[in-house]
């Protein structure tokens, strides 16, 4: 192996975006800046390419795609993409990790276990595209041990062939058989509360405010946007909490100790309608937000999590930070989308 396929987070920075993908580069940058990030390592984009080439997966997929035809803008063809996705993922998932790559990943994982002092340390295996495509690729939580780690890294790579990514690439005229991404392997935080933080108000672009959304358990429930989380606004100057909307938090995303998988669980009645963050935690998060905004020099869109196991404030971790996108303030609303569809589909207008 001539090129370096794997890096510790602290070896990386924003300039390594194309090398390891955006998420890995950002986590490296945060680590270097002194922000508390769970420790871990990153597989380079090259590792994806090398895996698909040496296992023969890329060639097999090309053969299948020669005969594939479907229109990504026709809802009726969505099923065809679903079918194709199943075939391609099966091709990738069925391959074994080449032994030279497996050796180097194992060595890094063993080192991570030593560093954290936990044997078979649970990790999150996250996708990291060089170009941000939120919600397209997959992430695996609570991965334990060498064997499962290899499998889940391959699953993350094969998620570039999931239904929604295929449709996206077809709609945007990108290659179908190839979409190189990096992959982050970081220690799993046993989360009490998680959420997102914007260092401006996403609804009106107000840069004097920090907006925090939070729910019990792992961050997936907030990031997916399907449940209504608690909503807090903190003033950047005074660090006063200027708005606090506590919602009815019906579900939380947790590790199921019985199956080892993560899943939605009903929140016990006594925790449903109370704030999941204390004022102390809110202010600490806001300070962290101000720090990363200053570091990057731009308003940030971040993800954070608070561990069950550690004392405050060492329990607060940042797991993602990226600049706020322009479309965050202005885009077609869901209501407009519905009205447009009503006109065209119900009334042919």
């Amino acid at each position: 192996m001539t090129e370096k396929l794997i890096y510790w987070l602290e070896e990386l920075g924003v300039e390594d975006n194309d090398l390891v993908g955006k998420k890995c580069a950002n986590l490296g940058e945060l680590t270097k800046a002194g922000v508390r990030v769970p420790p871990g390592f990153a597989l380079a984009v090259q590792a994806y390419e090398r895996f698909l080439a040496t296992t023969g997966a890329r060639e097999e997929m090309q053969r299948f795609l020669e005969t594939f035809k479907a229109d990504p803008n026709d809802p009726k063809d969505l099923a065809k993409f679903e079918k194709a996705s199943e075939v391609l993922r099966e091709i990738v998932d069925s391959k074994e990790m080449p032994s030279d790559m497996a050796d180097i990943i194992s060595a890094h994982y063993d080192k991570l276990c030593q560093r954290t002092g936990i044997s078979d340390v649970p990790v999150a295996v996250r996708s990291a595209g060089p170009v941000s495509r939120p919600g397209q690729y997959e992430t695996y939580l609570w991965v334990i041990g060498q064997k499962d780690l290899m499998k889940k890294i391959i699953r993350v790579w094969s998620s570039t062939f999931n239904h929604r990514s295929m449709v996206y690439r077809a709609q945007n005229g990108l290659p179908m058989e190839f979409d190189p991404i990096g992959c982050a392997v970081i220690q799993m935080v046993d989360a009490k509360v998680s959420g997102v933080m914007f260092t401006l108000h996403p609804a009106n672009g107000d840069v004097s405010k920090i907006v925090i959304e939070a729910n019990w358990g792992l961050g997936e429930s907030v990031v997916s946007g399907r449940l209504s989380p608690d909503f807090y606004v903190v003033d950047k100057q005074t660090l006063n909490i200027v708005e606090k909307r506590v919602s009815d938090k019906t579900y939380e995303y947790l590790l199921d100790p019985a199956t080892g998988a993560t899943d939605f669980f009903e929140v016990p009645q006594e925790r449903r309608n109370i704030p999941c963050l204390t004022d102390e935690e809110l202010v600490e998060l806001a300070k962290l937000g101000l720090f990363v905004e200053k570091h990057y020099g731009k308003p940030q869109d971040t993800e954070w999590t608070i561990s069950k196991d550690l004392p405050f404030p060492q329990n607060i971790f940042m797991v993602q930070s990226r600049p706020v996108t322009a479309k965050m303030s202005k885009k077609k609303t869901a209501t407009d989308t519905i009205l447009d569809m009503m006109m065209s589909r119900l009334y042919q207008l």
Partner: protein, 559 residues
Amino acid sequence: MPYGYYHYDWRGEPDLDPQYYDCWVCNVAHSVPAWTPLFTSEWYRLIPYAMQYANDYICEPTSKGWDWRIYNGYAYITSIKVPESEVEGRKQVYREQLASIIDDPWGYSERLFSRLMEKYDYYKPLNVKEMRDCELVQHLWDMAELDRLMWEVHMLGWDGLLGGLRLWREMLVDLFGITPYDVRYAKLLSGFDNALFKLNSDLTHVAARAVELNVESNFSLPDEEVIPAMEQTEAGREWLGEFDKFLNEHGYRSDRMLEFTRPTWLEKPTLAIPDIRRIISAGVSHAPDILRHQLRKEGEEIERELLAKLPSDQREWFHKLTQCAQAAHSWSESHDYWCEFQTYGLRRRAIKELSERLYRKDIIDDPEDTAYLLHQDLIYAAVIQEKVGKKYFRDLIKRNKEEFEYYKSIPPGGDTTPLFLGDPSKLPLVAGRDTLFGVVAAPPAEDAAKVGAVAVGCAGAPGIVEGTARVIASASEWDQIKPGDILVCPMTDATWTPLFALLKGVVTDSGGLLAHPAIVCREYGIPAVCGTFDASKKIKTGDRIRVDGNLLRVYKLDQ
């Protein structure tokens, strides 16, 4: 001359006006059994008005609401085309109106209901018996006004909420292949509480109390003897206390939803006895209560699975549209409770008081005879000079009664009242341009004869069941129903809901996706086929039938 039909009556020869209207459909659900002249006069005064009013408010781009005509005693309906030149202007208004409803569909229906509730809270405590004649006349006008408001609210609800449900239904098929007869469709919409389910749940509680207090044996007595028997014992009186509480909250209802010439439960508590007896005999369990929580959990789980299949930027509108569909579905069931039940209960109270006064003054021979007077005649009778009134009203009653008897004698779907007038192949056009029309009267999905079925519907509730048919023409025949029957009837409405706990399946002649039988069957988890047009004529009581709610077909077995 027919009573009170005004310009809605074709008077013998239908003028189909094919340039303007594509096709007319016989509205069996609102024609059988024939309404009394009093109700008819008010219904046709208000219904076409309210439908066109609400349509103008919401401004559906392709339809101006429904038109109505009477032909040989039966109602015929169609939707009204919008001229090409008006479409663009209507489209803009419609977008504005719908945007606020899509943002808060549950709030929209709650605000509509609260407009009525304010009125009910004011009128309910009034004592009509103590009113002077002039005050009673004023109150009767107020009740007519309330009726107008009720129908406006009723139609604003339908027209405002249905568009979202209709789009959602189409998107479910196109994106996920889920049809309305897929069990997931029912689960996505079910499990929301509403006033009508609360009524039935409270009625079940009253039945349960009878069992707990050990007085349920009184229900083996004839209806009229149950309450006097309860009065004899301490436990019985305690049960009557519970029963009174129930009646005070839910008693503004009669055994026929669309009439105000029938006694309410509050006025004649004996009327509730058969429903309580049925619940006791079925083992005192209110299926939707037990199922609701589970259904909602399953519904949320299915929505999560569907959302996960969509690209992330498509999830928000789908979730929002799902909420619109859920609010529309729930509204379509609960509006009967807030609209017809309460308004007609109150209107009935005023009319009954007037009827008794007219009888005491010897202006009419029987208090029930006011059912044969039209609203505009009746309202003056309260203060009219007795000497004039005596002959005038008796003549009117005699004439209208004869005509009513004639209308009652005409069977539906016979030579004089065909199911369609005009070109039935244009029914899809009529139903397509008007969302509410499509819900009430869609064409059956396929030809029954071709698939070997006795009837095919246009809507229903999923599941397949085989059993014995019980053909019921109206509420007066409910006592014939046995637990485990498959109910076959022209149509059901909200007053029928307590029966569903006994049934294995339901088949109706009328009704679309949001019709009462389809909605209630989804909640109770029993198969249904609705909108068959003529199943209750082709099936006889005792026939062994199979109801396939997935394919919307009804088969006769043992042939």
